[in-house]
């Protein structure tokens, strides 16, 4: 009888371990991410006009949203820790560039983030429109891979700069302001010294 008791306990323990392992396994297996590398749209190429819905479900075209001197597309995420660290800087340049006729447009291509989540995050963090790139069509077209990642397009829809905002995720030791430098050079008619700059970030979660 005593043996039976221990047997019951042993079975209970085994079931608990198996259930725990299965939980971890299936929780892991649930993740379905496929981020193949896509060809980047080269700097100097033209960005075709496109339309996506905003966080209110209204369709918006790039040509309608851009400013008189162009636009900056910023790929964002509601949960990426790197985007969180950059949010203040993103809002900062959005205000500065709007005054220079360059409108910032946020793009969220992460299929893992619901439209409601994207909407509440955008309402809380940004004053510029955020478009929802369902099926990561725009991300594929431009070759966007990470968040945050920016594309600076002039008034003729020509891509001037593609890449990181600056060279410091934390914001504590910025020595290169890639995006601001590209905008300032281009607006004053000077050649852009650095047209591309990759940086570490979160992968865009593609379908």
């Amino acid at each position: 009888m005593k043996k039976l008791g221990f047997l019951a306990a042993a079975i209970f323990a085994i079931v608990a371990i198996v259930a725990g392992t299965a939980f971890v396994y299936f929780n892991n297996a649930k993740w379905n991410e496929d981020t193949n590398a896509y060809a980047d749209l080269a700097v100097g190429a033209t960005v075709d006009n496109f339309s996506l819905v905003d966080t209110n479900g209204a369709e918006k075209s790039f040509n309608d949203l851009k400013g008189k001197n162009g636009a900056i597309l910023v790929f964002v995420s509601a949960q990426c820790p790197v985007v969180k660290q950059y949010n203040e800087r993103i809002s900062g340049f959005a205000a500065d560039f709007a005054a220079k006729g360059i409108n910032v447009i946020g793009i969220n291509s992460n299929h893992t983030e619901s439209p409601e989540w994207v909407k509440s995050h955008a309402a809380e963090k940004y004053k510029f429109p955020v478009l929802i790139d369902k099926g990561n069509v725009l991300a594929d077209k431009l070759g966007a891979e990470v968040t945050p990642e920016t594309f600076y397009v002039n008034e003729k829809n020509v891509l001037i700069y593609h890449g990181a905002i600056d060279n410091s995720r934390s914001g504590g030791d910025i020595t290169e302001n890639y995006l601001r430098d590209a905008v300032e050079a281009n607006l004053s008619g000077k050649p852009v010294a650095r047209k591309n700059a990759n940086a570490f970030g979160c992968n865009i979660k593609r379908v």
């Binding site: 008791g5 323990a13 993740w31 980047d40 990470v146 890449g163 934390s170």
Partner: protein
């Protein structure tokens, strides 16, 4: 007192003994499981002990060392040394990185001696004695751990692969000659990676 009654009382007592032993065994197993759980959680508090003088417990000495490298240090690591090299770039703030790490540790253990596995964290430098080794300890990682700190991440990313834009995680397998045989931005597929290692 007849024999039937004695038998019945004995049976009742046996039943009681059985239930009691089952109850205590159950209690013991729950207690053991809780201990296990507590133990796994406790590793999260190990770091705080490290900075306390005189608190050199065994747990602290288990924290793996993490070496800071810059772009030139990364370049040195990438130099072929006659053995295939598997590198994983990750960060503690990166969810998919944390999720795939157990697979990476398992592959590293399975192919120990046949391939070199190193992990490179892109966490903030302030985490080099904090979250980074803590996570590596939790994962029971036995591979050399590095933390890359550079002012030009673009250059560092370019050193590793032309197909990489900096998204984490990133995993790349070089053969003994230093040629890329597998790379993946985003979570790697363990079966595909293992198949590539087998081909080496």
């Amino acid at each position: 007192m007849n024999t039937k009654k004695v038998y019945s009382e004995r049976k009742q007592r046996n039943n009681f003994l059985f239930l009691r032993s089952a109850f205590f065994s159950l209690l013991t197993s729950v207690f053991c499981l809780s201990l296990l759980f507590l133990f796994s959680c406790q590793s999260q508090t190990r770091q705080s002990k490290e900075n306390t003088p005189g608190a050199q417990t065994k747990a602290v000495s288990e924290l793996p060392p993490v070496t800071q490298i810059d772009a030139s240090g990364l370049k040195d690591l990438l130099k072929p040394n006659g053995k295939p090299l598997l590198i994983n770039f990750w960060a503690t703030w990166c969810g998919p990185c944390r999720e795939e790490f157990p697979d990476l540790v398992r592959i590293g253990a399975n192919y120990k001696g046949q391939i070199d596995l190193i992990t490179v964290s892109l966490d903030d430098l302030s985490e080099i004695n904090g979250e980074v080794p803590k996570f590596l300890a939790q994962m029971k990682s036995e591979s050399p751990g590095y933390l890359l700190k550079t002012q030009d991440e673009d250059a560092a990313i370019g050193l590793v692969s032309k197909d990489w834009q900096g998204g984490l995680p990133f995993t790349i397998l070089f053969n003994a000659q230093g040629e890329t045989v597998y790379s993946k931005q985003g979570k790697f597929e363990a079966d595909v990676l293992v198949a590539e290692i087998e081909k080496l």
